[in-house]
Symmetry: C2
Subunit: 289 residues, 2 copies
């Protein structure tokens, strides 16, 4: 069998940890080769006051893909990973690419639309994520707000969550991971194999914001699915605990940016800080108390 | 003291392991944060038959630096790393940047000019490396051919090597590491602190070529100098053995590209395969027998 090779199409910045700068290291330290296409080339991510740099045009993306195609590299990819995409034309290029790669390639789409109630992308991109990319993805990793936007449903209770996840599977993806649910009891929720295996994991949070942990989460989920095929409990545990350790180390070091290089050991062998509970326990949790 | 932060200005390609794609992971797995500026954005490195993508213009590089300057990030850098630069204007931008960063920032310049007797860069770039970049670098990592081109001397014997290294120190750099010398006995040679500490290490080679190990070597040398300040023997050993393990794993796996993600453990904790010998032993070695 060919070794795994991930094509990851995300943003790049010189300083800061989001997009490919959050995703590549977690994948590669897990021993998995990863080819990054950088959709933007910025000095910093956009949470800084001043941004300089360039965005890739759809033609430039097509050119990079053509270079890979001509060298017979496109057919080597086993996994495709995408995150934030701010340009509807780029979304269409990626949809065509996914078709060209074929269904043998596992596509993890992180439908980055926004956070904390604020939409990052324009309405056309939101619609294209919902109607074009999510339906052709094998796995999606929305946060709670993205899950609500994709389903036009509200997520207030564990029961709501099960309904939303069901609806998300119906859109297409076999695997759905809700990367964070900010009830008083904070949860991450995994639903694999069209809901046959569902693993809620209660976790902690810190009283500050971080840029890029969603991109770490998606990259780690993909890495762990590659490393531990069908061992969904291990996948869920390692993804939650690895991501949490990055956040914890960042908080404890007082870093502005995610302490990813300082967390290499935990990204490979995360400690078992949080464990999945059963759906019965989850439904009984008073999540807002 | 501020944590180390490396600014690495090198090429980027989606598939293949040279430039920043060889350098970033070895630095980051050693727990050191690293900010990459990508001087080219190609589909693959140039050893593939078809190349697509774009090169950064000097103005685009200035813009990225301006974004970093405006956000007060330029002053956070403790180390600067550069590799292949094919554009004389970009060399001049980097020379100005080095001046702006100040002498408190350690500059490791890998003077990538060519290999196996073949020059990769045009004569103007060669001259600018020799007259502009090498003199303002703290550390340089030429291969044997680059060492010859920079000094206009020939490297046939251990005695020649000592003379060449002396001349290279006279050009400016306090530390000189000759990354590979392809005598029958293959050597890597370290000369720290203007030659006060000199460590020759005999190593092995494989009967095939590899793209990008020089970029791994330079990145690992910088990482080890950060991790083990003034413990030059450890720096030399870890750099040689870490780089060798990447090559060994690539060879044994039969990969076209350097097996860097598959060598994470050895990049952090390399086994002691090769050890430095003394200068006396080195001078007595019949290197061509």
């Amino acid at each position: 069998m060919a070794p795994p090779l991930v094509l990851t199409i995300q943003s790049h910045m010189t300083h800061g940890r989001s997009g490919n700068r959050s995703a590549v290291l977690p994948i590669e330290v897990n021993g998995i080769d990863c080819d990054p296409i950088n959709t933007v080339n910025f000095s910093t991510h956009t949470a800084y006051p001043h941004i300089r740099g360039t965005k890739m045009t759809p033609q430039e993306l097509e050119d990079i893909l053509e270079g890979l195609r001509m060298n017979n590299i496109l057919k080597m990819y086993t996994h495709l990973l995408t995150g934030y995409i701010g340009d509807p034309h780029i979304i269409k290029v990626i949809a065509n690419l996914r078709k060209e790669l074929g269904n043998g390639v596992h596509y993890l789409c992180d439908p980055v639309l926004g956070d904390s109630g604020e939409l990052y992308v324009d309405p056309e991109c939101k619609q294209l994520f919902k109607e074009v990319l999510v339906p052709i993805a094998d796995t999606i990793t929305p946060n709670q707000y993205e899950a609500e936007w994709l389903t036009d449903m509200k997520l207030n209770t564990p029961q709501d969550l099960l309904e939303i996840v069901k609806k998300l599977h119906e859109l297409g993806p076999k695997n759905v991971a809700i990367s964070s649910i900010e009830w008083k009891h904070r949860f991450v929720f995994f639903s694999f194999e069209n809901g046959k295996i569902q693993l809620p994991v209660e976790t902690k949070s810190y009283d500050r914001s971080f840029d890029g942990p969603g991109d770490v989460f998606a990259a780690l989920l993909l890495s762990n699915m590659i490393k531990y095929p069908e061992d969904y409990e291990k996948v869920a545990k390692n993804t939650v605990n690895g991501t949490f350790c990055v956040i914890k180390n960042t908080f404890e070091l007082g870093f502005r940016e995610l302490a990813i290089p300082q967390s290499v050991e935990e990204l490979i062998h995360p400690p078992e800080l949080f464990q999945p509970i059963t759906i019965e326990q989850f439904l009984k949790t008073n999540v807002n108390e």
